[in-house]
Every structure is written in structure tokens, then in C-alpha cells.
Symmetry: C2
Subunit: 256 residues, 2 copies
């Protein structure tokens, strides 16, 4: 079972959108997929057929009051299950900080389900808090969505140094699957071109040749209907880009 954390400290870079669409693509390719929403905002939870948050979810799992079976729910997509977010996640950092040496408690809680899932995707909040620490210490691989924008580039560098530190101290087997350029506009501005060039110089082959194109109409419609974009319009350029990236990730992932 591969546990893939989707994280970038910067807000609004398409972490949730990438988690939901890649999860859908992996399931369509025959993998048994679980998405765990670790962000109290619950955007991943409301992107897969329901607009309500569940009564029990990832917070209850992490604080130890229930097991995976009690919080895991099927979605309308075959082979794609979800452990949703609940409002109590806003307090999870304090709960986790009080537990002694439980940095990778998420990995231990998910381990009994290794026979049920091939891929687990963790949607992280835009914060370097204790929940994110746990996700990065628990995962086997990490994907960093990042638009070619100056603020996001600052966030990418900070995120990179945090991941490097966690890999050195807490999770030596973690691999960085890559940096995914998102929200890439068709006619890129000069500053966006500069950031993209800088990203390729800094991270080389870790950046796929093509990122995910911006498509406001598709993604705002998909979010409004709680349906992943690649289900709503499978032939759209952005959907095809997610399919292509999903194929590349499945090929690259250590736990294939």
C-alpha cells in the first residue's frame, strides 16, 4: 500500500483538486484508492458526491476513538473510498502535540488496512502544523502541487526544506514523487515563465514536462456539483493532464 501525501504550505495551489482528480484516475486504472481528508475545510470530502461533512472522520481515527472501518465510506466512484474531514479537525494539532512520540500515528492506524487499498491519498491543509508533520512522517511518497507564481514558489522552497528535514529525521524511506505545476495558464505571463524556468532549474526531472492547465469554467462547475473535473469532462485538456500524471505516478511509485 502506497501512502501519498499531497502538500504545499502555500494556500490555494490545487492540493485538494489534485488529490480528488488523481484519486479518481488511479481508481479508474484499477487501483483500490482511499482518500483521507486531513484539512478541517473539508473540500476533498465535499468533492465526491456529497456536500455534507460526515459525523465521524479523520479526526476520530487520529485521536484513536475509532478504527478505519468505522470512518471509511464509499464514494459514487467505484474503488474510491473516503475518510472525510469533520470540524473537530481544527483542534487536531493540539491533540497530536500532546501525544508523546506519535509522529507517524497515521501510518500505524492505516497499516491494518494495507490489504484493502493500493493507494492512500492524504489531502493536507495549507499549514506546517502538527497534522501536516504527521502526514509527512507517515507517507511513503509526497507530491507537491505548485502554480508558476512567485508567492507559490516561495512556498515550494519552504515546503521542500521541511520535507527534506522530515525525511532525514523521521521518515527516511519517503520519496518525493514530484512537483506538479498547476493552474498553468495557456498564455503564460513573463513572471510565470520566469518562475517555471526557475522551478525546472531547481528541481529538474522532478517536474513533469507538462503541468495541469488552468480551466476556470470546468473546475468551478465541478466543485459546485461535488464531482471531480475528470469525471465531469473526461475529454477536457486538464482532465487528460491529470490522467497522464496519474499514469506517470503509478509507474514511478515504489509500492506499485
Amino acid at each position: 500500500m502506497e501512502i501519498l501525501a499531497v502538500f504545499n504550505a502555500k494556500g490555494g495551489v490545487a492540493k485538494t483538486t489534485s488529490t480528488v482528480n488523481l484519486g479518481t484516475c488511479f481508481a479508474a486504472m484499477g487501483a483500490r484508492v482511499l482518500i483521507v481528508d486531513l484539512d478541517y475545510q473539508g473540500n476533498a470530502t465535499t468533492s465526491l458526491g456529497t456536500s455534507e461533512l460526515p459525523s465521524v472522520g479523520s479526526y476520530d481515527l487520529i485521536t484513536g476513538s475509532v478504527g478505519v472501518a468505522e470512518v471509511c465510506r464509499p464514494t459514487f466512484i467505484p474503488d474510491l473510498s473516503m475518510i472525510g474531514a469533520t470540524r473537530s479537525l481544527a483542534a487536531v494539532d493540539v491533540e497530536l502535540a500532546l501525544k508523546e512520540s506519535q509522529h507517524d500515528v497515521l501510518r500505524r492506524l492505516l497499516a491494518p488496512s494495507a490489504g484493502d487499498f493500493d493507494v492512500v491519498l492524504l489531502d493536507c491543509p495549507p499549514a506546517m502544523g502538527v497534522m501536516t508533520l504527521n502526514a509527512l512522517a507517515s507517507c511513503s511518497a509526497v507530491l507537491i502541487p505548485s502554480p508558476p507564481e512567485p508567492y507559490a514558489h516561495d512556498g515550494l522552497l519552504r515546503t521542500w526544506s521541511l520535507i527534506t528535514r522530515i525525511r532525514g529525521e523521521l521518515n527516511t524511506s519517503m520519496t518525493v514523487l514530484g512537483i506538479l505545476p498547476t493552474l498553468v495558464t495557456a498564455e503564460r505571463t513573463e513572471a510565470q515563465e520566469d518562475v517555471l524556468t526557475l522551478m525546472r532549474a531547481e528541481f529538474g526531472s522532478r517536474i513533469p514536462r507538462q503541468g495541469i492547465p488552468r480551466d476556470d469554467a470546468l473546475f468551478s462547475r465541478a466543485a459546485a456539483h461535488s464531482v471531480p473535473a475528470c469525471v465531469m469532462a473526461p475529454e477536457a485538456e486538464a482532465s487528460c493532464a491529470y490522467v497522464r500524471i496519474a499514469c506517470q505516478l503509478l509507474d514511478a511509485s515504489p509500492g506499485k
Copy 2:
């Protein structure tokens, strides 16, 4: 002295961009302005002429080791000063949580400077953490940037209920100056139009008739050069929109 918190729990909605551009407009209109960067990402700090974070900043002020005078720095914009973010802000939530009944410590720390500034702008991180709680308990007014997008609309409703709760329990004199539609594309998609209609139905006159138009070229260039967009291109439509909003806010603010 008016303390204006700029907050929305959702990430990437132009909190920092609005803080920096409104601060610049207020200063140009003759107000003495202070921006306090409360987000460890430090995007506001690197938007006003420097790309480096200072050695001491808002974290040191909040934890009580220095006063405003030691952390307040002028920017290249006349009458606009900045208390920058430092990396240690990532740990500020735990520090603040351990201080008994200090929910509005920020207000008390800024109070001695009431004679030096007319407007203080607080750029908040995309989180409902203890730092945000302090900013909302300390401010005299709050502005909520929010793009007409389904996820951001969810964030807006959650942000609204948090603000209502804090106003009831900790900060009865706080006013909500408004909800600022940001990243408003010229040709709005149907889902964006629906969200905008919903926002107007829910919040009525709290939403200005015109929001801030999206202008990727201008804002990515401005961020790359550490210059506010309304300085880089004062005649651009988005810059004029920030000027118009700044005028409306100055007229509406209780502490004029």
C-alpha cells in the same frame, strides 16, 4: 487607530495581495499605515521592496521579547511601515495557547503606538489557529477577501461563523467592514456567477458592487518585483479597484 484584520480561512484568496495593496492606497491617501504580517509564509513581508525576512518581527512582538519600536521597519512607500514575519511564527500558536487569557495580546501590544498610526492591517494565515484567534480578538474591524468560487464560498461561510462567535465572546466592538470579491474574472463562468449571486443574497450590502478583477500578468509581475500592483501599474483596472475599495473602507471605518 483602526486595526483591520484581513482574513479568510480558505487558502489563496488574495488576503496578502489585498493587505499590501489596500495598505499602499491608505498611505497614498494620507493615512499613517502599519502592516503586521502574521503569516509565517511572509508573503506580505516580501511584497514591499525586500525579498528577505527580517531577523526579528511579529513573533518577537507577540511573545513579548521586544516592543513595536524594535520590530517596526519603514518600507519604500512613504507613511507605510511593516512588522515582518519570521520563520518562528510557525510555532506561535503553541506559544499563544500556553499564555493564560491573552486572547487579545496583539491589541495590547499595539496600543502604545496608537499615536503613530491611523490604520494597522493584519495579514492572517489561512488557518483557524490561535494566531488568527488573537488577530480577530484584537482588531476593530475585519475584511474578508473571497473569490466567487465554490470552495472559497464554503470557506467564507466558516469564516463568517467564526467571526460571529468571536464578536459575541471576545470582541463585541468588532465590525465586519465587508466581504471583498477578489480574482473576479472578466467573463465569469456560470458556477462563479452562481456563487456571486449567492454571496449577494447572503451578505447583501456587505459586498461592494464591484470586486477586484483578475489580472494575472500584473499581479505575478508585481509579486516577482516585491512591489504592490497599484504601484507597478496605478492605471490598471485592478489597481483602480483597490483605490475605490480603499476609499469606501476609509469612509465606512468607525475609527476614521
